[in-house]
Structures are given as C-alpha cells and as structure tokens.
C-alpha cells in the first residue's frame, strides 16, 4: 500500500529510481485496474449504481461472501492458534511433515481443492455420508462454501503466529506461575496478549483471501442465488449473460470490501509493530 507520509529525506530523494520504479509498478499493477473498475461502474451514475448494487440477489451474495468468509477466518483464528502452538511447542514424529502440510492450501490449485472437498463432503463422500443420514448436507450448501473458505484461509494465522511464538520466552510463563498465576491465568494474562496482533493479522489476511476465493467454492457450491451464491461467482454469471454493468458494480463493491479489510490489516500490523517494539 502507498503511504503518503512526509519524507524525512531531502526533496530530491523523492524522485530516486527505487521510488519511481515502485510507484510505476504499483500504478500499472494495482492502482490503474482498480481505478478503471471503479470508473466504469461510476459511469452508470450513482442512482443506477446503487440500484444494481443493492439488488436482492446481489445483497444475498455479499452476505454469503462476507459473513461466511468472516466465520471461516474466525474459526481459523482459533484453530490456527492451536495448530501454531502445537507445531512450536510440541515435539512429535512427523512434525516437519505436518508443518509443511499447513501450506498445502497455498500450493494446491484452488479448483483441485474444491474437487477434493466436494468428493469428501458430498452425500456419498467419506465425511458427507456420515452427515447425510442426520439430514445435514455439506457439499452444495453454504456449509460447503464455509468449508472451502476454511480450507484456503487455514495457513494465514498459523504462519503469522509461528515466528512470534518461537520468539516467546518460556521463562515468562514460569515467572508468571511463580507469582501465583494458575495455568489458565498465565494463558489469559501473559501468553495471549502479545499473540493478539498476529492472530488478528492472520484472521484479516485469511478473511480477505476467503472473500476473493472463486475456484474451490464454485466446485463445492451449487451457486444458487439466495442460497450459496458468492459474489465472485455472481460477477462471473453476470459476465456470462453479457451484463457488464452488473458485473462491474458487484466487482466494485467486492473491491471496496477487500480494500476496507486491507486497511484494517494495515492498522493491525502497525499495532503489532508498535507492540513488538515494546
């Protein structure tokens, strides 16, 4: 992200090569496409934009996208913390393999992930067949969307938390216990507070990744409007119907949503640095 902070260096430095290259690269890669999208959707005029942006089908798609992504990121906030804790604090055979496995959602093409999840969680899949008799359908419902989002956003919390946990002195915990704190109090008052910024950063990163997910969700969801249709798929459907205006409007809303999430991440990271420098 660009930060228009006053530079402490002399004015001439502002036009140094690294600065020009950075600005040029970011302009071409990030800023221009974003502006083009917004400009195109705004060319409709505000009232029409608002009307398309707030269609019931679009609202439902935002709801599915953002709320499910939030839930998935939240679940990974807890589970990722547990996994990072186990990977750093426990020694067990195969730890390195499990550690490497955490990155699988990064490495796997998302369509492959969607296919694998759909196979396991469909009514006849290994896991899905256990839930089907209970009347719980996983694949091709919003639950499936949630699972796909959990899968692809899993590594973020683990990877942001691991280095912080590794740097944490275990003596601090012993010190707290010698002062009379029970294990629960040690966790709440000594371990957790310094971990909150990296956990929140991981959650926010996972959230924005989940909001943007397309490939795996499209395979595990039925993509029925008002049920499990996510906004990125809606954009694609609009394009297929040659409804460019509709696609750009929904796209713009998605863009603004992601931008808001990224701004939150930036704040969290600043908070984390401020915290870590203490």
């Amino acid at each position: 992200m660009l930060n228009f902070l006053p530079l402490s260096s002399p004015q001439a430095r502002r036009w140094s090569w690294p600065w020009v290259i950075t600005l040029g690269y970011l302009s071409v890669m990030l800023i221009l496409p974003a502006i083009a999208l917004i400009q195109k959707s705004l060319s409709l005029g505000f009232s029409e934009f608002w009307q398309i942006a707030t269609q019931p089908m679009a609202l439902s798609a935002y709801n599915v996208t953002f709320l499910t992504a939030l839930a998935a990121a939240g679940v990974n906030g807890v589970m990722g913390t547990v996994i990072a804790w186990v990977l750093v604090r426990y020694d067990f055979p195969g730890r390195r393999i499990v550690d490497a496995l955490v990155d699988l959602p990064f490495a796997l093409p998302t369509a492959v992930a969607g296919l694998a999840l759909a196979t396991v969680y469909s009514d006849r899949g290994w896991v899905g067949s256990w839930f089907a008799p209970l009347g719980v359908k996983i694949a091709y419902t919003r639950l499936g969307v949630f699972l796909a989002m959990v899968f692809i956003s899993l590594p973020f919390v683990v990877r942001t938390l691991q280095p912080v946990l590794q740097a944490m002195e275990t003596e601090v915990e012993a010190a707290a216990r010698s002062l009379g704190a029970t294990p629960g109090q040690v966790f709440r008052r000594v371990i957790l507070p310094p971990l909150m910024p990296p956990i929140l950063t991981g959650v926010a990163l996972g959230f924005s990744r989940a909001v943007g997910e397309y490939g795996s969700v499209v395979l595990i969801a039925s993509s029925m409007p008002f049920r499990d249709l996510i906004a990125p798929v809606l954009v694609f459907q609009r394009l297929e119907q040659y409804d460019y205006a509709g696609a750009t409007v929904v796209g713009t809303v998605l863009l603004l949503g992601s931008l808001a999430a990224l701004l939150v991440i930036n704040r969290l990271q600043q908070w984390g640095r401020y915290y870590a420098s203490r």
Binding site: E171, A174, A176, S178, L179, G180, Q185, R189, P193, P194
Partner: protein
C-alpha cells in the same frame, strides 16, 4: 523462612543432575549455590522453586512440606537470568502482576508498587515498558516483581549473568544491601566465585550433582574441603604427587599463588623454578614460573616484596611453599602440611 532440602535426586536421560543432595538454609540468610555449568546448581534452585520436580527426596520451606506443591502454591519469588519480564506490560503493571493475581484491592496495590519502585530506585520509570530499560534496570524490576508478593524465600538464577561487568558489580553490592533491608531468605545461583564471595553469607559449592562444601566465603577459601573446591574457588597451583613420592607422600600438593615465597638461596625445602614471565596486575606482581623446568606454577607478591627480591641473572629462583595443602583420601578436612615435608625429587 528456612529451606530444607532432603536427599534430592534428579536425572535428565543419562545425566545425573542432582545426586542425593541434602541442604539446610537457615532463615534470613543469603546463600550462593556456586559451581561450574552442569554441576546441578540451577537444577537444585529450580527444584526448590517447584519448576523442576525432583525424582526423589523432599523439600521443606518454613517447616512445610513443599515437595508436591506447584510453583504457584509455594509462595516463592523467582528471578531469572534473562529477566523474563512481561513485555506487554509497563514496569508498574509488571510489579503489580502477582498482587492482582491475589486480588488485592487497587489502592493497596498502588501503594505497594510505589514502595517497591522507590526500593529499586526506579520511581520515575513506572510507566515505561521493559524494552525501554537497561539490563540492570530490567533485573531490578524483576526483583521488585518477585518481592511484591512478599515471598517466603527469594530464588535467583544467575541474576547478573546477562549484565556487563560494571553493572554487575554495582548490582551485586545493591543486592547485598537490599537483602539487609528486606531480610528474606535468599538463594542465588552463580558460576562466578568472586560474585559468590562478595554477596553471600554462605556458599554451597557444587560439582557433578553433589555438594562439595558448605561454608562462609572465608572458610571456603581458607579451608577448602576437597581438591575441587580448592581449584574452583581462587587460583591454585597443583604440584603432582610424583614429585615427592619417594619421600612417602602419595598426594598432590595444592598451594595458592600468594602462599609461596621466592628467594635466591637454596634451602632443604625449596624447589628451583625458572621465571617464564612477569605480569604486572596493578599493585600485585604475578610470576609465571616453571617448577623444575617442568610444572607450570604461579606466584603472587606485592610490589614491595618484588622490589626486595634480587633477580638472579640466570632466571632461576627458589620457591618456598608457605601454606601447602593436601587432601589425603579426599577426607572432609584438609591437612595442612608443615613446610619442611615438601622436597624436590
């Protein structure tokens, strides 16, 4: 509050860290556990604290059996080598931590924290974070945090180990004075014999998981119980037994560098030595010698003695052992030898 350690053993894999150690620390004393790394001193301290459960034996603090109590139930104060301060809390919040856990009301906590800030001479820095303090200041905060809960005993694991030489010296003196003021039974671990001598009332010398000797700094230095103590505490020369075995003394002879006299005339008891190097260490002169041109030997004397000595042209002097010590069968008390029992082979 007294500490009684009864027959404590601890093994880490194949390594015997503590081997049936028993120890009594009387109320109000400041005691040093002194030994090289791996001697078991830290393990013993952690066992007393409840941070390292022993394999066998019992621990009593203030006549209460603590063996099976957790660290948080033992009412001890523990100070770590690397401070272990809570980085996300201010100095004030760090010191208040134990008091908040005990649910003491806020005005009382405030007052106690203020008292402790005065005690550690950091009254103006209460709102700083640990990272904004120097090493010496951090360790004082760690001490205040441990003292805040009014522990029965104060345990310090190499408390000055991470500090640089000058700060370490200041803090040693400060700890001594603090102990006089607070008078809580304190045990600290160190591998630095000078530190142990300067700070402690009593020194417990440890080696290979066992206690070699317990005594005041003076006793430990002047009457070492074992060859290990003799070598570990202060500088010492060892004259191997083969040098004088024909005369019927099958033991190595130990002598401090200042326990010798150099002269030019040959006597019945003097040993010839060659001067290798002369080292000026302030007001003392150290001579690196080679006894019989074979055994490295250090002699120490003050400036006046050095100037009184007329240096022979051939660099050979006669060494007279004034305070030689032997340890027959490593018995509990060292035997002082009359000076004339040592002869050169």
């Amino acid at each position: 509050m007294s500490i009684i350690v009864e027959n404590i053993s601890k093994q880490f894999g194949q390594f015997q860290a503590l081997d049936r150690v028993s120890l009594t620390i009387p109320d109000g004393k400041l005691v040093a556990l002194l030994g090289p790394s791996g001697s078991g001193k830290s393990t013993l301290l952690r066992a007393i604290a409840g941070l390292e459960p022993p394999d066998q034996g019992r621990i009593w603090i203030n006549d209460q059996d603590m063996t099976h109590l957790n660290v948080e139930q033992r009412q001890i104060g523990f100070v770590f080598q690397h401070y272990a301060l809570f980085k996300h809390l201010t100095v004030r919040q760090n010191i208040a931590f134990g008091l908040e856990i005990r649910k003491i009301n806020r005005p009382d906590i405030r007052q106690r924290v203020n008292e402790l800030l005065d005690l550690i001479q950091l009254a103006g820095l209460g709102d700083r974070y640990p990272i904004q303090l120097s090493g010496g200041q951090r360790q004082r905060v760690a001490l205040a945090r441990a003292l805040a809960v009014q522990p029965q005993v104060l345990l310090l694991d190499e408390p000055f180990g991470a500090l640089d030489a000058q700060v370490r010296k200041d803090l040693r003196r400060w700890l001594r004075n603090l102990h006089h003021e607070v008078n809580v039974t304190s045990v600290f671990v160190t591998h630095d014999q000078e530190e142990a001598m300067e700070v402690a009332d009593e020194i417990v010398v440890m080696n290979e998981g066992k206690i070699e000797q317990i005594g005041s700094p003076q006793t430990i230095y002047d009457y070492p119980a074992t060859p290990f103590v003799m070598k570990f505490v202060g500088e010492v020369n060892v004259i191997p037994s083969f040098l004088h075995q024909p005369q019927g003394l099958p033991h190595d002879i130990f002598v401090r560098p200042h326990g010798v006299k150099l002269q030019t005339q040959v006597t019945d008891t003097s040993i010839p030595a060659k001067i290798i190097q002369i080292i000026h260490r302030g007001r003392d002169i150290y001579l690196e010698l080679s006894l019989l041109d074979r055994i490295p030997f250090m002699a120490q004397m003050n400036r006046d003695e050095w100037q009184a000595l007329t240096m022979p042209a051939d660099q050979w002097v006669q060494v007279e052992l004034l305070q030689p010590i032997t340890f027959p069968q490593a018995s509990a008390s060292p035997h002082r030898l009359p000076a004339d029992s040592v002869t050169a082979a």
